[in-house]
Every structure is written in C-alpha cells, then in structure tokens.
C-alpha cells in the first residue's frame, strides 16, 4: 500500500492505526491505474456539473457598462446565478471539505481521529447551514436577458472578463447560415449545433442533468432499498415474505415500461424523473441487503448486541449496516450507470428534461434522429460523453466487486 507513508503521524504507541474493512476494500479497489483514472474522471465530471454555471456562461464575471452615471462595474454572472446554484456550491464545498478531512486524519490515533473528524464535520455543516441561510435571505434570482456581447461590440461596455467558455447553453449566435452547424473553431471549441449554440457549453451543462439525476435518484433508491432490505433481512418471516413478493412484482415489469407508466401518470419534470428513477430502482439494493442481513444476523456479535439490550435502530444501522452495505455499494455503482443511461434515453425519446435545457440524450436526438438531417459531428460529443461516464461507473463497479470478494481481500 502506497498510502501509508506519513511517518510523522505514526508517533502514537498503537501504530499503525486499525483500518476498517471499508478503507481496505477501497484501497484495494483503487490499486489498478485504470480504476484510479475512472474515479478521477467521475470526480471531474461531478465537479464540472457542480461548477458549470461558473465555467460556461454568456454572462461576464465582470464588466464595465456605460450608463448615465459614467462607467459602472457590474458582475452579471454572479448576479445571474440562482439561489439553487449557490446552495449547490455550498453543499459541494462542504462535501469536499469532509472528504478531505477524512483523508487527512486517516492515520491518526483512533480517539483523536474521531474527535477531530466530528469537530470538522460539525464546523463545516454549521458553516454551510449559515451560508445557505444567508444566500436564501440575501440572494434573489434575477432574470437577465442582456446580450453583453453586442453591448461590447457597440462600445456601450468595456473591460469584460468572461468565463472560460463564453457561451450559455441556450445562447444562439445571431441567426445566419454560417453560425449553425459550425465545425470546431477557436470561438466554439466543439463547433455549434443546428441552432447555432455552442456544443461544448451544452455538453458541460448536460453533465449537470445527468449527474444530478443519476446521484439523486440513486440516493432515493438506496434509501428505499436499505429500509426495505434491512426490515426483510432482520425480521425475516412475514416481512420477508411480503417484501420479497413486492420486489418480485416490481421487478417483473420491465424497468423502462414501469418508468414510462409513472411518467405518463405523474408528469416529467426533472424532480419527478429523479423520484421515478428512485422509486423504480430500489429492488436490487433491497435484495442484496436482505441477503447480507440474513447472514449477518446469525453472527455472534449481533447476537451479543441483542442480548446486551441495544436499541433496534442501533443494532440495525450501527452494527449491521456497515458490514452489509458492501454488495449494495457495488450495485449502486452499476445503478448510477443505469440511471444515467435511462435519463439520456428518456431525453432522447423526448420525455426527459424540457428544452432548451441540454441533456446528452436530447442532444443525440437532435443530431441523430432520423426525422432530421444527420450531423455526425453533432452526435459524437454527447454520445462519447455518455459512453465514457457509463464506462467509468461500470469499471469502478467491477473493481469494487473484485475488491470485496472475500477470496481476494487481503
């Protein structure tokens, strides 16, 4: 293991600190370079999907506009961000902070580590909560339709600092024959689509839809699956029988049909699609957790815990869950791949997110739908992005599965 290389932290007499099953499995999983690359890639896409309003936007960070009071400096991009954007940033920063804290304190002695981690987490969550409240009170969503580029061109503005990609996802070049279906150039790194919009910007914004729907829906599915699976596995008998029948019934309807049924009935906003994917995708998790729990509940330490009179929730979620979660996590990785695929398919079919919000599936449909003219350079980027992220999830899933295989766990 290359990770254990910081001798300064090894002063405590109890060195090396005990590593949990988890960190072992994850460490093992990360050993091949390909898997590391995939994890990095997923992290990058996640980061982009969070930060995309700052990366690709037609609004400049800073600009000086000529008004009746002379030149006034404005910050259109920061004003244009919605409250939700700011909250997302906060949540992401908090998460990154917590992950960093965990990684940095990993080699400390047990007692100190726990204390430190708790403190850091508390501070971060508190800060995020305060920040969130502040944003909620102070920030108001503002609709800004100003075309800053034409302002600059006409000389009514100067000194603009743009985001790295100077185009919003719905921004079209002024309509003309040359502006549409452009091949990659300095202005548009991946060219423009058939309405004259920057493909790269749309690609990045689409990652937000894909990752958002993927992670949120799987979080919902995981919660549901863990609840049902834990109940089935721990209590067995009637719970188990009924639960398993429910699982069978839901699984018997082909997933895509089930999702279409739900969409027909409950509509198709982004939130709804997240919920629908969550509600239809929990069965696998429940099944795996149930099997694990059936096994674990026979083990001595659980029997001891029960005999010791620990409360039920503590036994379930504190003692059994951490040990039963591994196969669930493996399937969560595949589940993410599945959710991203399904979201893109829905958008391809035109029942996903609303235009002009970009989605990889929707972009593919615009480029490759036989009812329109086929432009391969338009179909390539979204297809490739979709392929890469699904492949990355699958590779990580495979590696995770190998890593927790008891036969090979070192």
């Amino acid at each position: 293991m290359t990770e254990i290389t910081s001798p300064s932290l090894l002063e405590t007499p109890l060195a090396p600190p005990p590593r949990s099953y988890w960190s072992l499995a994850i460490g093992k999983m990360l050993r091949p370079w390909l898997v590391k690359l995939c994890v990095l890639y997923i992290g990058l896409v996640l980061l982009i999907s969070v930060m995309v309003p700052l990366i690709a936007s037609g609004k400049p960070y800073e600009i000086q506009i000529h008004t009746s009071h002379g030149w006034v400096t404005r910050f259109p991009l920061l004003v244009d961000l919605t409250t939700r954007d700011y909250l997302t940033f906060l949540a992401a920063a908090m998460l990154i902070g917590i992950i960093l804290a965990w990684r940095l304190t990993r080699h400390m002695e047990m007692q100190r580590r726990r204390q430190l981690r708790m403190t850091i987490a508390g501070v971060l969550i508190g800060a995020a909560a305060v920040g969130g409240a502040a944003v909620g009170i102070l920030h108001h969503n503002r609709f800004d339709g100003t075309d800053y580029r034409s302002l600059l061109k006409s000389g009514a503005a100067r000194g603009a600092v743009f985001a790295p990609i100077r185009w919003g996802y719905a921004e079209m070049e002024p309509l003309s024959k040359n502006a549409i279906n452009e091949l990659p150039s300095w202005h548009h790194w991946l060219g423009t689509d058939r309405s004259g919009r920057d493909v790269l910007s749309r690609m990045l914004w689409a990652s937000r839809v894909a990752m958002g729907i993927g992670f949120v829906s799987q979080a919902i599915a995981l919660t549901l699956g863990i609840l049902v699976g834990a109940l089935m596995g721990y209590f067995g008998s009637v719970f188990d029988l009924l639960g398993m029948r429910l699982v069978e019934m839901v699984e018997a309807i082909p997933t895509f049909f089930l999702i279409l049924t739900f969409i027909a009935i409950f509509g198709r906003s982004i939130l709804m699609i997240m919920i629908i994917l969550g509600v239809t995708g929990w069965t696998g998790y429940a099944r795996f957790l149930r099997a694990e729990f059936l096994r674990i509940r026979q083990l001595d330490y659980i029997v001891a815990a029960r005999a010791g009179g620990l409360p039920l929730w503590r036994i379930l979620f504190r003692h059994m869950l951490p040990n039963g979660l591994t196969p669930v996590l493996v399937s969560a990785s595949f589940g993410l791949a599945g959710a991203v695929t399904i979201e893109s398919s829905l958008s391809y079919l035109g029942i996903g997110v609303r235009p002009p919000t970009p989605s990889w599936g929707g972009m593919l449909n615009a480029a490759g739908n036989p009812a329109t003219v086929f432009h391969w350079f338009e179909a390539l980027p979204p297809g490739f992005a979709l392929f890469l992220i699904v492949l990355a999830f699958n590779i990580v899933g495979e590696a995770l599965r190998d890593a927790i295989d008891p036969k090979t766990l070192s």
Binding site: R245, M249, G383
Partner: protein, 336 residues
C-alpha cells in the same frame, strides 16, 4: 416433475394478483381523474364543460364511473377490471380509438420476433466467447474479451442506434440498410424467399442494436461458471482418465455450466422488452415498445395500464419457463 410445475404455476398467481393491485393503485393515483374539472378556471363555461366531458370520457374509458357518471366504488372497479381482463378485454385506447387487445395482438408478435432473434444472437456470440475466455483465462484473449464486453455493455443504445441509422441507413453516407419499418413497401408481390431476405435485411440493424449490450452480461456469467467447473474435481478426474481435452470441455464442463445460462434467458427478457422501446422508436418499428411510448406521450391510460400488465405477464411466464427448464436439467432444484 408435473407436481413441481403445478406448484410453480400456483405460486405465480399471488404475484400476478399483487401486480394487478399495484398497477390498479398506480393508475388511480393519476392526478386529474378523481377531481374531474375541479381545477379549471371558472368563467370559461364552454371550455370548462368540454374539459369535464374530456375527463368524463377518460373516466368512462377507465371504468371509474358508470354510465350515469356516478363514481364506482374502488373495490367494485377492481373486480370489474379483473373480470374484463379475464375475458380478454383490455379496454379501449384513447389515442387510437381501438380495443387495446387488438393493438397488443397486432404489435406483440413484432416485438417478440425481434427479441427472440436477438436472444439467439446473444447466445450464439456470448456462449462461445465466454467459453473461450474461460479456457484461456488470464491470457490476452481473456483480457481483450473482458474489456471488449465491458465496452460494449457501456455503449449507450441511443448513440449506437443513431450512429447506425445515420451512417449505414442514410442516403447521404452509406445507403446499406433501410432506416425504418420491418418490411420493404412492396411485400405484396414478393416470393417467400425474397420476403424472408427482405425481412432479414430490415431487422439487421435493430437486432444488432438490441443485442450487443446483452453479450457482455451473458459472456461474463458463462466465463464465470466455466472457470468454476474447469477446476472442479470431476474435471480433473476426467482429464486424469485420459479423455481428450475437447471431450472434457464439451461433455463435462459444458454440461455442468448449462444452469446459469438457462437462468439468464429469464433475466434478459424484461431488459430486452424495455430496450425495445428505444430500438423500436429509433427504427420506427410498430411494436409493443413504440405503442408504450406513444401511449405515454398521449397519456393514454387504458393502454398504459394494460401494457404494464401484459409485459409483466410475459416476464412472469418467462420466469416460469426458466424454472421448469431448470428443474428439467437439474431435478434437485425445488422451489423454496
């Protein structure tokens, strides 16, 4: 054997009945049905009335209200619905104004044929592939096979589909395959052989797109169970007896690796059915998937309700057949 089959069929019924409950409940949760017209702005009398009429129409079609517009109690609705189902009456479509039974009977064979052919192709490719990978495990063939199948598995159907139709079925690029439908438009004066060839030509792309994702999953399973059996004692014994390696592989290892392959048929069917929604939409094929899509788009609740049930029934029947086959291959297996 017979008693096993009977028991298995009997056990299928609770699931089926439960499923009807779920579908019934979900459909009745649809907003706007029980509170017909209540959320529409007053003042627009004509429009309001026609909205009422529309909702009433939908409710009549779903048999939520009786002839006089009075709501039917839930329990009776359910019993009536089941009763109609048993008599083969799946209701009347709102979009197509035709009996759903007729629509399903028209479109089910199309989807089934495509799916069966895909299934055959999946097996034809994945089983030998998995065997090969197992025999050469750890070597280059195996590695290549593993990566290849993972890549295929991760390729999104919508991308491959639109690329295939854009490049291979497009007069602007290669005009090799037809881009829509299942038949050329002049089937009426074709001989039998021409007809079959034309059909094969039309389904090539859809079947390829539907099947390539299935290779990976099956091949991985085949490889796994093969590997397991390759190092079993009986294999070693057979080899020690001096049997030629091919005989060992074919007779001993293959036979013992059959079981998971049978299960996977059952597992693949719902996936294929779901996948046919996208494939049929891309290639404009009038099958079950496209019907489901059209119904979703038009919020055609009678069709959706029946399609969910029909597809579930198909899946359950597949599971049943798989279990029976399993039992036939390995009589030790019983239903727990």
């Amino acid at each position: 054997m017979l008693s096993y089959i009977i028991r298995r069929i009997l056990l299928m019924f609770p699931t089926l009945i439960g499923m009807t409950f779920i579908i019934f409940a979900v459909i009745r949760m649809a907003p706007g049905l029980t509170t017909a017209g209540a959320h529409f702005a007053p003042g627009m009398l004509g429009a309001h009335q026609s909205q009422l009429a529309e909702e009433h129409f939908m409710e009549r079609r779903l048999h939520l209200v009786n002839r006089h517009g009075q709501p039917i109690p839930l329990a009776i609705q359910y019993v009536q619905w089941i009763n109609r189902m048993i008599h083969g009456n799946l209701g009347t479509s709102i979009k197509f104004s035709e009996p759903v039974t007729k629509l399903v009977l028209q479109r089910l064979p199309v989807t089934l044929v495509i799916n069966v052919i895909s299934l055959i192709i999946i097996y034809l490719v994945a089983v030998p592939g998995g065997m090969l990978a197992a025999v050469y495990h750890g070597r280059l063939v195996d590695r290549a096979f593993g990566i290849g199948s993972l890549v295929l598995y991760s390729l999104p159907v919508i991308w491959v589909g639109s690329m295939a139709i854009g490049f291979l079925a497009n007069p602007d690029y290669l005009n090799w395959f037809p881009s829509a439908g299942l038949h050329a438009t002049n089937t009426s004066h074709m001989s039998y052989l021409q007809y079959v060839l034309d059909y094969a030509w039309h389904i090539t792309l859809p079947v390829l797109v539907l099947s390539y994702g299935g290779f990976a999953y099956l091949a991985k399973q085949v490889r796994g169970s093969y590997l397991e059996n390759l190092f079993m004692d009986f294999t070693r014994t057979a080899r020690a007896k001096g049997l030629p390696p091919s005989a060992v592989l074919l007779r001993h290892v293959t036979q013992n690796s059959m079981l998971p392959m049978i299960t996977i048929i059952g597992m693949t069917v719902p996936g294929l059915l779901g996948g046919s929604v996208i494939v049929e939409q891309i290639f404009s094929i009038q099958g079950m998937g496209r019907l489901m899509y059209q119904a979703t788009y038009a919020r055609d609740l009678p069709v959706i309700q029946s399609m969910a049930l029909v597809s579930a029934a198909i899946t359950l029947i597949c599971y049943l057949l798989v279990d029976i086959a399993y039992h036939a291959v390995d009589p030790r297996v019983t239903y727990d």
